[in-house]
């Protein structure tokens, strides 16, 4: 009996959670003006690829996707490298000022990004970074959160392996690549997936640093389409295309996500 209730709840809630995504995907195959929408319109009677052809032919949308790739892939790669090495340094190496530096990092994590965005806007105006990729790439090259996750992970790993390698005459860089990095792959993957999602989905920073349409990432591009196009199908096609990379990352790295969420006491 309890099982039956669980299954009913599971199916009902599962459907509710999937419904918006169904609406998005089904709606993208329908050619309909906002004015003609009816409540059940998202069940398409004449599926059409028109909307996809429209956004793909419209060079600007492809450009937005390209922009998103640029401002996501570079930070993701950089975060994985820097967070892996720094996590190792803070977990395993002794050096003057280690504790105080880490403590400052952990204090700074509490500063909301909305506070930093105002002075950064002024700084980037001076740097000439407004409407460039730099404003969205350079500040994101490493992250305190990622360092924290890797450090947490490595602190639970005994030192025997490194010490054995050390006695064999390996230096830090060799130890890092041969011993630490292979062990850290899961947590580094977690850092990468988090970084991907936060950069790909970011709206606030692009909104502040970018004014030219051709520089928009897909989030901001879609936001500028919402309501402007007047065609729900086109909006949903755009949403579906921009959702695909997120969905693929999620599909392949779901485990790292959920582990990362459990590991992080923040965000």
């Amino acid at each position: 009996m309890k099982k039956v209730i669980s299954y009913i709840a599971l199916i009902v809630l599962g459907f509710c959670f999937l419904l918006p995504f169904l609406i998005m995907i089904l709606g993208s195959f329908k050619d309909v003006q906002y004015a003609q929408l009816d409540p059940l319109f998202w069940i398409p009677d004449h599926p059409t690829m028109k909307n996809y052809l429209y956004i793909m032919r419209d060079g600007i949308f492809v450009r937005w996707i390209f922009n998103s790739v640029i401002i996501t892939v570079i930070p993701v790669a950089s975060q994985m490298i820097f967070c892996a090495v720094l996590g190792y340094i803070f977990a395993k190496k002794q050096f003057p000022g280690r504790e105080i530096v880490f403590w400052i990092f952990m204090a700074v994590i509490m500063i909301p990004q909305q506070l930093l965005i105002i002075p950064k806007f002024i700084m980037f105006s001076d740097f000439g970074w407004i409407n460039t990729y730099w404003a969205l790439i350079i500040p994101e090259l490493w992250g305190i959160m990622g360092v924290f996750l890797v450090r947490q992970f490595l602190q639970n790993i005994p030192n025997d392996l490194e010490e054995a390698a050390y006695i064999d005459g390996a230096n830090d860089i060799q130890i890092f690549f041969k011993v630490i990095l292979p062990l850290s792959i899961p947590v580094v993957a977690t850092v990468g997936t988090f970084s991907f999602i936060s950069n790909w989905n970011d709206l606030f920073q692009p909104l502040i640093y970018l004014t030219q349409e051709k520089m928009f990432p897909v989030t901001l591009g879609l936001a500028s389409m919402l309501g402007k196009e007047g065609n729900f199908g086109i909006e949903m096609a755009g949403s579906t295309v921009s959702f695909i990379p997120t969905f693929l990352i999620f599909l392949f790295f779901q485990r790292y996500f959920t582990e990362g969420i459990q590991m992080s006491g923040l965000k």
Partner: protein, 309 residues
């Protein structure tokens, strides 16, 4: 680590000592120095600059002018700023408890030994990784304030008049909260699921032998034992709710009649539409103080690293 290699009393020449230190810690210096420089430029300096800004009149052209506490004083009497804070508090009320309750419910279902739990866990988690822009686009359609809106269509079956939703100042904030609940419940579920997994099964067995009902087991065992999770999730969702911006920007533009002007939305509007960067900096410090207080409560109760259940 490796005390044998460098001892304080080593009589080696300086060059040799530097070389050994370099061999021992090269990786630290190669990586930490650039990172610290980056950290100072992009975190510490902006934080200080922002504070400095609050005492200045920042003109887009020309030099900034010192005005002391003018912007802080203005904040105290700015009814719109207080309305934004009030709106944000209201949003938290709509958002925090339902998010926790839904997350807990999802975790309980997933944890009840159903088949294909992993698949459903994925479905519930999907909104977490989806951008606000996508969900807002769909949400705006679901909650259209006309008879053609899907929610209004469903309401018509139970005899409720079409609602205005996003165009009604008494409903818009709740609709935005609904969007956030949908988006965040999946991550709350993950925390609760981890908590449920760590509860000792023997407690349940003992309770069953005593003939306790499922309902009673939940309220006397499960719910109280999840206390650290409740607390942690409450803190994180509270911090999240004070930073709400995307949905207000995308769906309502802070309206109707300022009903969805939250702290961050007001900050954005002041800083980047009205170009009062100094006043926006004051507002951002207000947000920071609120988050700081919430975080300090968390640290006080849970200690520095509150992530080992």
């Amino acid at each position: 680590m490796s005390k044998a290699v460098t001892s304080k009393k080593s009589k080696l020449p300086l060059g040799e000592r530097v070389k050994r230190e370099w061999n021992r810690n090269a990786i630290v210096y190669i990586f930490l120095i650039p990172v610290l420089v980056h950290f100072i430029i992009f975190q510490i300096y902006p934080f200080a600059l922002s504070f400095y800004l609050t005492f200045m009149d920042w003109k887009v052209i020309g030099d900034p002018e010192f005005v002391g506490l003018k912007h802080w004083k203005y904040f105290l009497t700015d009814t719109l700023a207080w309305k934004a804070i009030w709106n944000t508090v209201k949003f938290s009320v709509y958002y925090i408890v339902p998010t926790m309750a839904l997350g807990l419910l999802l975790a309980l279902i997933i944890n009840s030994g159903v088949k294909s739990a992993g698949f459903f866990k994925g479905i519930f988690f999907l909104p977490v990784v989806t951008s606000f822009v996508i969900i807002a686009g769909i949400w705006g359609w679901l909650f259209r304030g006309t008879e053609a809106g899907m929610i209004n269509y469903l309401l018509s079956f139970v005899g409720i008049e079409p609602q205005l939703f996003l165009s009604d100042s008494s409903q818009a904030l709740a609709v935005l909260a609904g969007l956030s609940i949908f988006k965040v419940a999946g991550s709350t579920m993950i925390y609760y699921f981890a908590g449920l997994q760590s509860i000792d099964r023997q407690l349940y067995e003992a309770a069953r032998i005593d003939g306790a009902s499922s309902f009673k087991i939940f309220w006397t065992i499960t719910f109280p034992l999840l206390k650290p999770i409740h607390f942690f999730v409450a803190i994180t969702t509270t911090i999240g709710s004070f930073q709400i911006f995307d949905s207000a920007y995308l769906l309502t533009g802070g309206g109707p009649n300022y009903a969805t002007t939250t702290i961050v939305y007001y900050l954005y509007e002041q800083g980047f539409t009205s170009l009062n960067l100094s006043y926006a900096a004051v507002l951002s410090y207000v947000l920071f103080f609120i988050i700081l207080v919430i975080s300090l409560i968390q640290r006080k109760y849970l200690g520095q690293e509150s992530n080992n259940y």
